[in-house]
């Protein structure tokens, strides 16, 4: 009797292990499928150097068209990321410093909590927010690189605030106290000692935020809007990779679809590589600091 029950218990335990392993496999299948599909359908296009630099030639019928290039979209994404990255870094890191290092002013926890909650706000709402604000304030700017930048910035700021806060928390208090005890003024302590120590973590956080913004189409639908032209100025619509993919995904033309898959593969390579690298560097950092 005992023997039967025991072997049942053991068998059950083994079965659970197998199920768990299967779950892992099932979960990873979509990732593999997306990568595979993009590689197969868009890989060829990526090998053509003109793909990255050319823009859209003259309008043409959907069947007899040369494959277009995604130069404008790469440029647009780069500009949007550069500007919004700068803004969100400046605001996000500063806000995190205030919340973490100047806690006596009482707002620290409110800021932290607010930023945390904001990271969960749907990205389309960020787009709606900027759009409705400008519709009221200055409708001519509604679809422009400016609003696109703003939308991506407010998407990234909460993420940067949280990751920077985390990084600041890992800096041991003894470092701060040592610097202050040596007579260093608070602002210098924060910049030269605390920020410098937390720098790798902060940088990683900014990178992760930027990679998130690089793939976002929803907020740009209502702001940056998309374009087939190279950068024309901050006050007019701007191209972006995710918008390209969205717009071409439902087109009937096989050429346009190839372009979209090529852009997809490119975006995936960019985002996934950046993610893997930043996770590796976080792990190395955690190990250096003594692990968690």
């Amino acid at each position: 009797m005992i023997f039967d029950r025991d072997s049942r218990r053991k068998a059950f335990s083994h079965a659970i292990t197998v199920l768990g392993g299967l779950s892992v496999l099932v979960v990873l299948i979509p990732l593999a499928s997306v990568l595979y599909t993009a590689a197969v359908r868009g890989g060829a296009v990526l090998l053509n150097p003109a793909f990255y630099t050319a823009g859209n030639p003259l309008p043409c019928s959907s069947i007899s068209c040369q494959t277009v290039g995604i130069g404008p979209d790469i440029e647009g994404t780069a500009i949007l990321l550069g500007l919004s990255g700068a803004i969100s870094t400046a605001v996000g890191v500063s806000a995190a410093i205030f919340a973490s290092e100047y806690r006596t002013y009482g707002l620290g926890r409110a800021i932290s909590f607010t930023a945390d909650v904001l990271t969960g706000v749907p990205s389309i709402i960020m787009g709606v927010f900027i759009y409705s604000f400008f519709v009221l304030y200055d409708p001519t700017l509604a679809f422009s690189a400016t609003t696109g930048t703003l939308a991506l910035s407010i998407l990234m700021i909460p993420i940067v605030v949280r990751t920077t806060e985390e990084a600041l928390h890992t800096v041991p208090n003894s470092l701060r106290e040592a610097a202050l005890a040596l007579g260093m003024p608070k602002w210098r302590t924060t910049v030269r000692v605390v920020l410098a120590t937390a720098f790798p973590g902060i940088l990683t956080g900014i990178l992760l935020a930027m990679m998130r913004a690089a793939g976002e189409a929803a907020p740009l639908l209502l702001t940056g809007f998309g374009s087939r032209l190279f950068f024309q100025g901050m006050n007019v619509p701007i191209a972006a990779l995710p918008l390209l993919i969205y717009n071409y995904a439902e087109s009937g033309s096989p050429n346009f679809l190839k372009v979209a898959w090529g852009a997809t593969l490119l975006l995936m390579i960019l985002v996934l590589t950046a993610n893997v690298l930043s996770r590796l560097s976080i792990q190395r950092m955690v190990r250096r600091m003594g692990g968690r």
Partner: protein, 329 residues
């Protein structure tokens, strides 16, 4: 011991390392504080502005329809009648189904990785799962259109219809772009969230709890089940709610696979619309001011739902992890 002091500065009071207050601050300190303080406050201001602007733009609709907006199931621009129910239903339905699909897989994976998997495998596989979350929504939508939708339409849905049609959930002709397919993509997108947070929670369980169970003669699964999981329960629930929060807000993947019909879905094969996909599809159409306000009111509802869900989740997870460890996306 008096610490060495630079020539121009007076020594810090009492030898303690507290920052100088008030008049002891110099102008660079005050400037710095001003700068970071402004940034900090602007984050708070951003949250308020978000709600404020949306509410302001939604006011015409709020006044026109009142609380009936939330339960009105007609969305008819031609007649000027707007009700949010189709989209609330679409949002909650796809979210719920996504969670139902994702939770067993995510929990299975996280328990496996925390307790059973060989050690060399844990970090790489964990990273691979987290990469699922890094894939942009629009790419999932694109893949969905060309890989998942045909799969659902020609393989999965007919089979479901045959074997489970009796439940009444699978009525109508399956064409692939429907509530079910959108839910499947959402499930794929939220699995990494649930897995990552559950893994964190399970890893935080003290080894002593599991060892206690093992020392009593429990099998590995029994030790996990009776000692680890109850301990981690709050965090796991929080992880699931976080996943739900993420599913509710997704736009691109949903809008590309859900069929975009503004009606309350009656079966899993119905075409539908979530609030997010509504905004993506219709905000920029040539709409009258009332439709614009109605769409924005729907957006406000989405914001409210997502705030409630996210706050609940974070409270649960913060409580278990005790420090706000890691970014929960």
């Amino acid at each position: 011991m008096v610490p060495p002091t630079p020539s121009s500065r007076s020594p810090l009071p009492g030898g303690s390392a507290k920052r100088p207050r008030g008049s002891r601050q110099t102008w660079p300190d005050r400037l710095f504080l001003g700068l970071v303080g402004t940034a900090g406050v602007s984050v708070l201001f951003l949250a308020l502005a978000l709600v404020g602007v949306l509410y302001d733009a939604a006011t015409p609709s709020v006044r026109a329809f009142g609380p009936n907006f939330l339960v009105g199931y007609t969305w008819n621009p031609a007649a000027g009648v707007y009700g949010d129910l189709p989209f609330v239903a679409g949002t909650l339905l796809t979210g719920a189904i996504a969670v139902l699909i994702a939770v067993p897989l995510a929990l299975g994976a996280s328990i496996f990785l925390t307790t059973q998997a060989p050690f060399w495998m844990r970090r790489p596989v964990g990273t691979a799962i987290e990469l699922l979350a890094a894939v942009p929504s629009v790419i999932y939508g694109f893949w969905g259109i060309f890989v998942l939708v045909p799969l659902m339409r020609y393989t999965v849905e007919p089979v479901l219809r045959i074997y489970l049609g009796w439940t009444g959930l699978f009525g109508g002709t399956p064409i692939g772009t429907d509530v079910l397919t959108a839910s499947v993509i959402l499930a794929v997108m939220i699995v990494p969230t649930i897995t990552a947070v559950s893994r964190d929670t399970l890893s935080a369980v003290p080894a002593a709890q599991k060892e206690a169970a093992l020392s009593l003669g429990a099998t590995d699964w029994e030790a996990t089940r009776y000692a680890m999981i109850p301990y981690a329960r709050a965090g796991i629930v929080g992880a699931i709610i976080l996943g739900l929060g993420r599913a509710i807000g997704e736009t691109m993947a949903v809008t590309m696979t859900i069929g975009n019909i503004d009606k309350v879905p009656v079966s899993l094969f119905s075409q539908g619309q979530t609030i997010a996909s509504l905004i993506a599809n219709e905000l920029l159409n040539e709409t009258g001011p009332l439709q614009y306000a109605a769409i924005l009111e729907a957006g406000l509802v989405l914001l409210a739902i997502s705030l409630v869900v996210n706050v609940a989740a974070r409270l649960l997870v913060w409580k278990v992890l005790r420090v706000s460890g890691g970014i929960i996306e």
